[in-house]
């Protein structure tokens, strides 16, 4: 199904990779959070990252749009290298959408205004055009009727779908997700995952920190296991779940799969 179109896309874009991390290290003071991270994400590829709490998963994906600064190594996103050059950071942030565990919608703005803010002020689109795009994405995440409400009036699942739509309104090539369903009640997790699966099927390049292993199995091209700031294991989901190489991965999988 969508697999073939994905592969075509990947072939079309060559092997350069949408995101290339080489030899990335990061420290918080004395604490070594990321150790020698090497990773190439191809265009249209879906990566799922899992690992125990504090292993550096959030830090890793927050480095990709410079919410955190790495101290050593190289991060190249869509051919642009992340340095302290503000222009590059702005360019990359416009290419990369991000969805947070705690939604982080702007509570003082309506859903529609949340979606239009960045397109109007950053991309300098007209309000009418931004609104049209916004309504299209609200339709896509299946909450067109909530456009004029404030975030506080929505359920958690609806808020997270608005957050996804808000990121999509900037027309990103890459989407980063940091535990998008961890703050949600079980019945709302599915509605958010459905939106993410649809997005994955549309060919978006995605990096997703999550412990939803069913999602990883059905959507991911590769699953990464991180522990103590290192990438311990990286494999396609079939292999990752049925035949993990490292003991740490086995231990982790036995813990989360037995729940």
């Amino acid at each position: 199904m969508a697999d073939t179109s994905r592969q075509q896309l990947r072939r079309a874009h060559g092997a350069a990779g949408a995101i290339v991390l080489s030899g990335v290290h990061k420290w918080y003071g004395e604490f070594h959070v990321l150790r020698d991270i090497n990773l190439t994400v191809k265009d249209g590829e879906k990566i799922v990252i899992c690992g125990p709490s504090g292993s550096g998963k959030s830090t890793l994906i927050r480095c990709i749009n410079r919410l955190e600064e790495h101290q050593q190594g190289q991060i190249v996103v869509d051919g642009i290298e992340l340095t302290s050059d503000l222009r590059n950071i702005d360019k990359i942030r416009a290419e990369v959408g991000m969805v947070f565990q705690s939604f982080n919608l702007f509570p003082h703005l309506t859903v529609l205004d949340n979606l239009c803010l960045a397109p109007v002020w950053v991309k300098k689109k007209s309000r009418a055009e931004a609104e049209k795009t916004a309504r299209m994405y609200l339709e896509r995440v299946k909450i067109p009727e909530q456009a004029l409400k404030y975030p506080g009036q929505l359920s958690g699942g609806q808020q997270q779908r608005v957050a996804i739509a808000r990121a999509l309104c900037m027309n990103p090539n890459i989407m980063l997700f940091d535990e998008p369903t961890s703050a949600l009640d079980p019945e709302m997790i599915k509605e958010v995952l459905d939106v993410m699966i649809e997005l994955a099927n549309s060919g978006m390049t995605m990096m997703c920190v999550t412990h939803e292993m069913a999602f990883a199995r059905s959507v991911a091209d590769r699953v990464i296991f991180m522990d103590r700031g290192e990438i311990v294991e990286m494999a396609p989901p079939g292999e990752f779940f049925s035949n993990p190489k490292s003991d740490r991965t086995k231990h982790f999988l036995s813990q989360i799969l037995n729940h």
Partner: protein, 401 residues
């Protein structure tokens, strides 16, 4: 409630027994309230009785008969015509206007300075953040009265005398007697300049509205700040020059031992304004900092992730949310500043308290009336300020469900 059968408890269900009257919360609350009202009434009655007795014993007529009597004293600064031939009533208004002058200018200065220092304290620039931090710690930990003494006696009263005045730009000068500014004197034709200024202001508002509409329609931004500056400054400026500069200035000149002409700002007023606004600004800075820090970190991260610059993030995301936290304590700082202005007595600025509650009370002896009026005045100012801030909070700052 009906007795149902699907419960194992046998026999009819009796409603829970009502507790003794003494143990019922409604009854107790009613009793406490009645007791409180009785106590308050008794206190008021005692005080009123006492005052009436004392007044009767000292043969003091009560009432506001003094209002239209000649005051016989001078006030060093008045915004309305006032001399020692004026009435106590006019002294009331002169003092009140002096207090309002200090309150309004002080609030504007304190707000601007406070927001700058508060935002500066959060700056990523180490030096700016430290300077702002030191400012706050120094200013808010020294008693205000001491600061007023400092500005008045240590700074302004140590300035050179009129003959050695410090010359400032535009013909202004500063000396121990105060700040002397040139006074503008309009000449025929100046009305046209004012008209041009009015047209400039109206036009720039129109441009701002048009630019806003256009940004919503096409996304293009328009340099509103520059066109506004051009319209408000250049347009009247051009008319002013075209009409041969129909405005002259009366410059303060040294005659004998002092300056004559121009506008004189008393050192007492300067000291009070500087002291009150720098002191209050230190509290406002803390309020602003707490307000900004009270906005969750995720808000800034989400805005950054969307590509908003740090300036736009502050303006569109952080400040609107911070204002909700800032405005209530900001209101009480405004009220504090207004009330603190009565420390003017200590450095001899003729504010409302020093003129009315001080001199007028002393001369007339009408303590009850004067004190009641003073309380009424401060209550009115406070209520108007709070009402305005509440309105602002509801309609401008707090647009969230």
């Amino acid at each position: 409630m009906t007795a149902t059968t699907n419960r194992p408890a046998p026999g009819p269900i009796t409603p829970p027994a009502k507790p003794n009257l003494l143990y019922r919360p409604e009854f107790r609350q009613a009793v406490y309230q009645v007791l409180l009202v009785v106590c308050l009434l008794f206190a008021f009655w005692t005080i009123a009785n006492n005052v009436a007795d004392n007044l009767a014993r000292q043969n003091i007529a009560s009432g506001f008969g003094f209002w239209n009597r000649t005051s016989g004293f001078d006030i060093s600064q008045s915004l309305i015509p006032y001399s020692n031939q004026s009435t106590y009533g006019q002294a009331f208004w002169a003092g009140l206007l002096n207090t309002l002058l200090v309150a309004v200018i002080g609030i504007v200065f304190a707000t601007v300075l406070g927001f700058l220092v508060g935002i500066g304290r959060l700056s990523s620039n180490w030096l700016i953040a430290r300077i702002c931090g030191a400012y706050v710690e120094l200013l808010r930990n020294v008693p205000l009265l001491l600061q007023l003494f400092f500005w008045y006696f240590a700074v302004l009263k140590n300035l050179p005398g009129p003959r050695q005045s410090i010359a400032l730009p535009f013909g202004a000068s500063l000396n121990v007697r105060g700040l002397y500014l040139p006074a503008p004197v309009p000449e025929p034709g100046f009305g046209a300049v004012l008209t041009a200024l009015g047209i400039g202001i109206v036009l720039s508002i129109a441009v701002a509205i048009w630019a806003r509409r256009r940004q919503r329609a096409t996304g293009e931004r328009f340099p509103v700040l520059w066109t506004t500056l051009a319209l408000v400054l250049l347009l009247p400026g051009a008319v002013y020059i075209a009409l041969g500069q129909p405005l002259s200035f009366q410059y303060p000149v040294l005659r004998g031992f002092n300056f004559q002409g121009g506008i004189a700002v008393l050192p007492e007023l300067m000291a009070l304004l500087v002291g009150l606004s720098t002191y209050t600004a230190s509290f406002i800075a803390e309020i602003v900092r707490a307000g900004i820090a009270g906005v969750p970190r995720g808000q800034r991260e989400a805005a950054n992730a969307l590509g908003l610059s740090s300036g736009l993030t502050m303006r569109l995301v952080i400040l609107p949310q911070a204002l909700r936290i800032i405005i209530p304590p900001l209101t009480s700082q405004y009220l504090n500043l207004t009330k603190n202005s009565s420390l003017a007595v200590a450095i001899g600025y003729p504010d409302f308290v020093s003129v009315f509650t001080g001199t007028v009370l002393n001369q007339t002896g009408q303590a009850v009336e004067v004190i009641l009026l003073t309380m009424l005045v401060f209550l009115t100012i406070s209520l108007i300020t709070s009402a305005f801030m509440n309105w602002f909070n509801k309609h401008i700052a707090l647009v969230e469900r």
